[in-house]
């Protein structure tokens, strides 16, 4: 049982007009085997939270804390966070020319587990995980994210999650740009991994569509860099009908 604890997190970015505050005091606790949906309008700070958790250098933490089972995450480098068990499924994964998927996966697995995986077992694991995500075996020979369709990129993110076995995963708008079939395959993958490993999930989304496939235990509404409201599944249903106007008008 692990706990990812975010307390009074305040984050800014540098812009041409100077420093801009994005997160204004976020409190959030996620336990293993829980699914938290973060919803909110564009520009509310959802992705900033995701990238701050992963340690992207663009974001400056001005205050607050992030701990993973009591360990200070903010003190860790990007790779240390991943080795501690954090995983970010990105909305726009970048291309890495000349690096094949299979080379990349093996290198990442070796880094995460501290030793090279046993070859035969590993090949079986990769093949199995790819099959479950309906990915062609030839995928392994392609260069990372190069020429991937939107759906392939997202499947590739989930494939990594399946093989790297993190304790907590942040899914940053994994549903964007997916058709219904791809959305189902990706969602099944998330549910399967959670079922097998007790993964804690922070699901960031703009739409309620993905919540039909991945059932959240908690829903948090993000507005203007803060959590404006939280509740259970029913909150998502309400957002589906009412949208975010209510929060924006209130000027939280």
């Amino acid at each position: 049982m692990s706990v990812l604890d975010i307390k009074d997190l305040r984050v800014s970015i540098e812009t041409e007009q100077g420093s801009k505050e994005i997160l204004r005091g976020v409190d959030l606790t996620i336990n293993s085997d829980e699914i938290h949906a973060i919803m909110g309008p564009n520009g509310s700070g959802k992705s900033t939270l995701a990238y701050t958790l992963a340690g992207h250098p663009r974001y400056t933490v001005d205050g607050g804390s992030i701990t993973l089972d009591g360990e200070d995450v903010l003190e860790m480098s990007v790779d240390e966070r991943a080795r501690a068990g954090l995983f970010l499924a990105m909305q726009y994964p970048v291309e890495i020319p000349g690096v094949t998927v299979s080379n990349f996966l093996r290198t990442a697995k070796t880094a995460i587990s501290g030793e090279a995986p046993r070859v035969r077992e590993w090949i079986g694991d990769v093949r199995g995980a790819m099959e479950k995500l309906r990915m062609d075996p030839s995928f392994g020979e392609r260069n990372v994210n190069e020429g991937f369709s939107g759906g392939e990129k997202k499947r590739h993110e989930i494939l990594q999650m399946e093989l790297l076995r993190p304790r907590f995963a942040v899914l940053d708008e994994t549903d964007s740009g997916l058709d219904v079939d791809a959305l189902r395959i990706v969602s099944e993958g998330v549910n399967r991994i959670k079922g097998e490993t007790g993964l804690g999930v922070l699901l960031i989304t703009h739409y309620t569509r993905i919540l039909r496939y991945i059932q959240p235990d908690h829903v948090h509404v993000f507005v203007n860099g803060r959590i404006a409201e939280q509740g259970g599944r029913e909150l998502a249903d309400r957002l589906e009908e009412e949208g975010y106007d209510r929060y924006l008008k209130a000027g939280v």
Binding site: D79, P93, P97, G98, F104
Partner: protein, 404 residues
């Protein structure tokens, strides 16, 4: 032999300066005296390391003494039956397509009595790549060479020139790809770090023929390999690929020229360079010319450089000139930068340490070219050399944001 080209007026008349507008109009001559000594202001010497190239600018006898400055390991060519009797200045096909465009090349032409002549016989399919091993026997020793590689109609094959050791070496490479032939030519500069090498490659590709031309430079003090390719035939196809890795004190230069002359020709130019260490330097000047009769042409050229540390400098100048309105496509691009932060972030977010992430990015960047070589021995040697370079560079601080 006397020059077969008339000397352009502006070269003969000292006090007149005529700017050269079109790459194909660059003056040529077989007589070194016509070029004079470059001052460093000329378009084709402006970014060169003239100081270290100076020994190659002196027009004097070099084939003296018993021990050659360059040992030619030609056993593989001989075994494959690709070696033809050496050709003197007047013996065809020497000079069929080659015209020296600078003084070094003119000296190499003049001072090389017998050209090495490699020929793929008509219709012959040479399955195995054939490697000529050129080894320099001393950094102070000078050599001039003219080499002819001729792919006869319908032939298929891969020829590699592998350079090692050290020398001051001026070299002309004349490449003739006749009708329907498919040739891959790879020049590998695997020199010791005190070698000085200036080479002019000139290729002509005939009807329906194909040439894949590759320049791979990672060893040597100053390496200047300037290839040009004329897609002369109908539907001639040409690819020009380059890969360089410049370390501290290394100056690696390529002036690349792709000339679409024939109808429906297709050309692709891609040069990639990595640089690390104080004073590491690369120069790339890429000219693509689509002639006025070259309708239906498809052409693309790109140069990408990855600056790994501060103190390195990459010059990249792409030029594209189109003289017909009827083309299928033409484009050019140049990008020089430091590590892509987003690539590093992506890899690190998967647990990969920063140094390993950098290694993956550099190797990946260069592999795109390595994978095109198709000669296992050279690919392995290259992968090994890249790892070696990266080990050497591991202690150096990565390029800062402002540096690139």
């Amino acid at each position: 032999m006397t020059a077969t080209e008339t000397t352009p007026a502006h070269l003969a008349t000292e006090d007149r300066f005529v700017p050269i507008q079109t790459r194909s109009e660059r003056p040529t001559s077989f007589d070194p005296a016509d070029f004079g000594t470059p001052t460093g202001r000329e378009v084709n010497w402006r970014l060169s390391d003239l100081k270290r190239l100076a020994p190659l600018l002196v027009d004097e006898e070099t084939e003296t003494g018993a021990e050659p400055a360059i040992e030619y390991g030609l056993a593989e060519l001989e075994a494959a039956g690709l070696l033809v009797e050496s050709t003197g200045h007047d013996a065809a096909p020497r000079g069929e397509v080659f015209r020296p465009e600078d003084v070094v090349s003119a000296i190499a032409w003049k001072r090389c009595e017998n050209a090495l002549h490699i020929r793929l016989p008509e219709g012959q399919v040479q399955e195995q790549p054939v490697i000529a091993r050129l080894h320099g026997t001393g950094a102070e020793r000078r050599a001039n060479a003219h080499i002819v590689v001729e792919a006869m109609p319908g032939s298929v094959g891969t020829i590699v020139l592998h350079h090692s050791g050290s020398a001051r070496y001026a070299q002309n490479l004349e490449i003739i790809v006749r009708e329907g032939a498919r040739l891959t030519l790879v020049s590998v500069q695997d020199w010791q770090d005190d070698a000085v090498h200036a080479s002019a490659h000139q290729a002509v590709v005939g009807d329906g023929a194909y040439l894949k031309h590759m320049v791979v430079s990672f060893g040597g003090g100053v390496v200047r390999v300037n290839p040009s390719m004329r897609l002369a035939g109908h539907r001639a196809e040409g690819e020009m690929f380059g890969l360089s890795f410049s370390d501290s004190g290394q100056h690696i230069e390529s002036q690349v020229f792709m000339f679409h002359e024939g109808v429906e020709t297709r050309g692709d130019v891609l040069y990639k360079g990595a640089l690390q260490g104080e004073g590491a330097r690369s120069v790339w000047i890429g000219d693509v010319l689509i002639g006025q009769d070259a309708t239906g042409t498809d052409s693309y050229e790109k140069n990408q450089n990855l600056v790994l540390t501060d103190g390195a400098r990459a010059d990249s100048i792409p030029n594209l000139e189109i003289k017909t309105g009827d083309i299928a496509g033409a484009g050019h691009a140049s990008a020089t930068g430091r590590f892509d932060d987003e690539q590093l972030f992506y890899l690190q977010s998967r647990g990969i340490e920063e140094e390993e992430a950098r290694r993956l990015v550099v190797i990946g960047f260069l592999m795109e070219i390595v994978q095109k070589i198709g000669v296992p021995e050279i690919e392995e040697r290259l992968a090994e050399a890249i790892e070696e370079e990266l080990r050497r560079g591991a202690g150096l601080a990565p390029a800062s944001k402002a540096g690139a």
